[in-house]
């Protein structure tokens, strides 16, 4: 699909954020995916036009990064962390259950093309293993049953809440957030959960705290 003038204008806005316009290429490719469902030739050409570089250069970049896809992702991207910690603590079983439920395999669309399943690497949430992502929003502490339930609810069009983030939207919406991060959703959902508070809770219960400013240093810093 041809990239509209409105989207090209957004690409120019992204390029203007940086001292050198090419720095905007990654956000621009996120925008392309949001508009197109994957990184299309039209999208690559639009990026090249706006930045004044060749399509080959854009393609070389887009094929390097695993978040950029060359086939339609569908409504929802589903990631399951299969790196050692998540995988061995149950992510392997979560992945197997989802592959069966969706009738697909790694980095491929579901039978109905609505979902994309991917074995993903560490998502920086090991304390919340096994971790799954829906459109890259966290779904923490999964089991095979709870993961399949998430898919079923999404398939029925129900609202699914990220465990640490806003309600799930769709893959296209996440692409737009990655291009334009101020998406107005910072106040939605919970971002701090009990696992993130584990140490703080103990410290408060037991009256532990960081030491105060030493008297000698206090004199040095107060006039600042």
């Amino acid at each position: 699909m041809a990239i509209s003038e409105a989207v090209r204008e957004e690409m120019r806005q992204l390029a203007a954020l940086y001292p050198q316009s090419r720095s905007a290429l990654l956000p621009m490719l996120h925008l392309v995916q949001s508009e197109e469902g994957d990184v299309t030739i039209d999208g690559i050409n639009a990026c090249a036009d706006v930045l004044g570089i060749t399509s080959a250069e854009v393609t070389a970049v887009s094929t390097f990064y695993t978040m950029y896809k060359r086939q339609k992702v569908g409504q929802h991207h589903i990631g399951v962390c299969i790196n050692t910690l998540c995988g061995l603590l149950g992510g392997d079983a979560v992945y197997a259950a989802l592959a069966e439920r969706l009738g697909t395999t790694h980095d491929s669309p579901s039978e109905d093309s609505n979902f994309w399943l991917e074995r993903i690497e560490c998502q920086a949430a090991c304390t919340h293993a096994p971790v799954m992502t829906v459109d890259w929003e966290f779904m923490d502490d999964m089991t095979p049953a709870s993961a399949v339930d998430v898919i079923d609810r999404l398939a029925r069009g129900e609202v699914v809440q990220s465990t640490r983030g806003p309600a799930i939207r769709d893959f296209a919406a996440t692409g737009r957030t990655l291009a334009f991060p101020n998406d107005g959703l910072a106040d939605e959902g919970v971002s701090v959960d009990e696992k993130m508070l584990a140490g703080l809770r103990i410290a408060k219960e037991r009256g532990m705290s960081a030491p105060p400013i030493p008297a000698s240093a206090a004199a040095d810093t107060t006039e600042g």
Partner: protein, 433 residues
């Protein structure tokens, strides 16, 4: 040793992520104080504090800032490495989601110190909720006059761009991150020149980890001597530890450097179901594993180095006796193979060949001769590639072999899943094969 919440102190306050919520606890007071001081004196405070980089390498932060040449007529840049992707590392993402203004305030102070008027926060694209939380904090700071032109009526102006990556572990390597931020494939650069001299757009650039920068407001507000009350001479300060794996209460625990793993394990509720510890890794899969005998070592840069490993990201992963070390190591090597950027032959080819050999072990038909051959290939990768990814890829196997050679030998005839029922290591019950 006691827990010492600093960065995490107010995480139970539901609006801490907002400007108002952060300012309730004195937020941006350090910035007000910093802007009244000479930039060099800020660098000196950070040097005096002894703060070391929290991204894994532990390089002294103040010294890094001091490397930036002054009055060179070039623009300077601050880049925050928020590409947390190291297997096991899960502390920067929580910091960004819970306390993004500590990061933003730290960015402004650090930029002022190194005379940068443009800062970038490069956050991995796979975590949009961290991206939006930090972007929201930047916009709130801008609206309050902490970001933009003539901040708080001074000559200092700063723009901050929140930049989302697109899925490449290698972009956590600082020079690969710079290439990525310039809109190229994320491949490491040869050093020297170091980024402090020729970094982003070939200009002087400081690249710091999220947790490092989030420390800055607290150090500026409370002083170098305050920080030095924590930790040791060589590892001053506190650390946001994230304990994951087969423990009863995985999570975030902020404590002084020098706390032991046994103490952290205790805070984390001990091993699940009373099972025995098999191995643990102090700071990401790129540092060598340790076992029970190391539980009483202080978690400092120097003590971990003394035990032949590294503190790394300070995010211990804990595995109990149900886990196959063969399977664990194979999975890590599959990761490094996947994430090798392909630039250097030893890393690109070495990870490919090691993974092939390890997968044979995992499936129970490893070749006995390969037990040594893999170790040999590791020696051919480590130190022979541009960046530390190669070194990291060469790390898990030799450490595992040191403690669990018998398991690899058994995997010449018995698969990992036959040696260790994978279901036993799951955190949930009721799974079937």
């Amino acid at each position: 040793m006691t827990l010492t919440p600093v960065i995490t102190e107010h995480w139970d306050s539901p609006d801490l992520y907002t400007l108002e919520g952060y300012r309730k606890f004195g937020g941006y007071g350090a910035l007000v104080s910093a802007l009244k001081q000479d930039p060099d004196s800020i660098i000196q405070v950070v040097k005096d504090s002894g703060l070391r980089g929290r991204g894994g390498a532990g390089f002294p932060t103040g010294m890094k800032w001091g490397f930036v040449p002054q009055n060179d007529g070039k623009p300077h840049y601050l880049v925050v490495n928020a590409d947390e992707s190291e297997p096991g590392a899960c502390k920067d993402i929580p910091i960004m989601m819970a306390n993004p203004h500590a990061l933003v305030e730290g960015v402004i102070i650090a930029s002022y110190a190194i005379r940068a008027s443009h800062a970038f926060i490069y956050i991995r694209g796979e975590v949009p909720n961290a991206v939006r939380k930090v972007a929201n904090a930047v916009e709130q700071a801008r609206a309050a006059g902490f970001v933009g032109n003539n901040i708080l009526g001074t000559d200092f102006s700063l723009d901050i761009v929140v930049h989302a990556g697109a899925g490449a572990y290698i972009c956590g390597e600082e020079t690969a991150l710079l290439d990525s931020l310039e809109g190229y494939r994320g491949q490491p650069r040869l050093k020297p020149p170091f980024p402090a001299v020729a970094g982003l757009y070939a200009s002087p650039t400081v690249i710091n980890n999220v947790e490092t920068i989030a420390n800055i407001p607290y150090i500026i507000e409370r002083g170098a001597a305050w920080l030095r009350q924590f930790g040791t001479e060589k590892s001053p300060g506190f650390k946001v530890f994230a304990v994951s794996g087969h423990v009863n209460r995985p999570g975030i625990f902020e404590a002084p450097l020098g706390i032991t793993m046994r103490e952290l394990l205790d805070y984390a509720g001990g091993m699940r179901d009373g099972r025995k510890l098999k191995f643990w890794i102090p700071g990401g899969s790129s540092v060598p594993m340790l076992v029970e005998e190391h539980l009483d070592l202080p978690l400092t840069y120097e003590d971990m180095a003394g035990a032949g490993t590294m503190l790394g990201t300070g995010t211990p992963m804990v595995f109990d006796e149900t886990v196959s070390v063969v399977k664990a190591v194979t999975r890590w090597l599959e990761f490094y193979k996947h994430e090798s950027c392909g630039k250097c032959t030893p890393c690109r080819e070495g990870t490919y060949w090691i993974t092939g050999m390890l997968e044979r072990f995992e499936h129970g038909h490893g070749h006995e001769a390969d037990v040594e051959k893999i170790a040999h290939v590791c020696t051919q990768i480590a130190g022979r590639s541009f960046c530390a990814l190669g070194d990291a890829a060469a790390t898990p196997y030799p450490a595992a072999l040191k403690y669990f050679r018998d398991e690899f030998l058994a995997a010449t005839h018995t698969s990992a899943d036959e040696q260790f029922d994978p279901i036993a290591s799951y955190l949930f019950a009721g799974a079937t094969r």
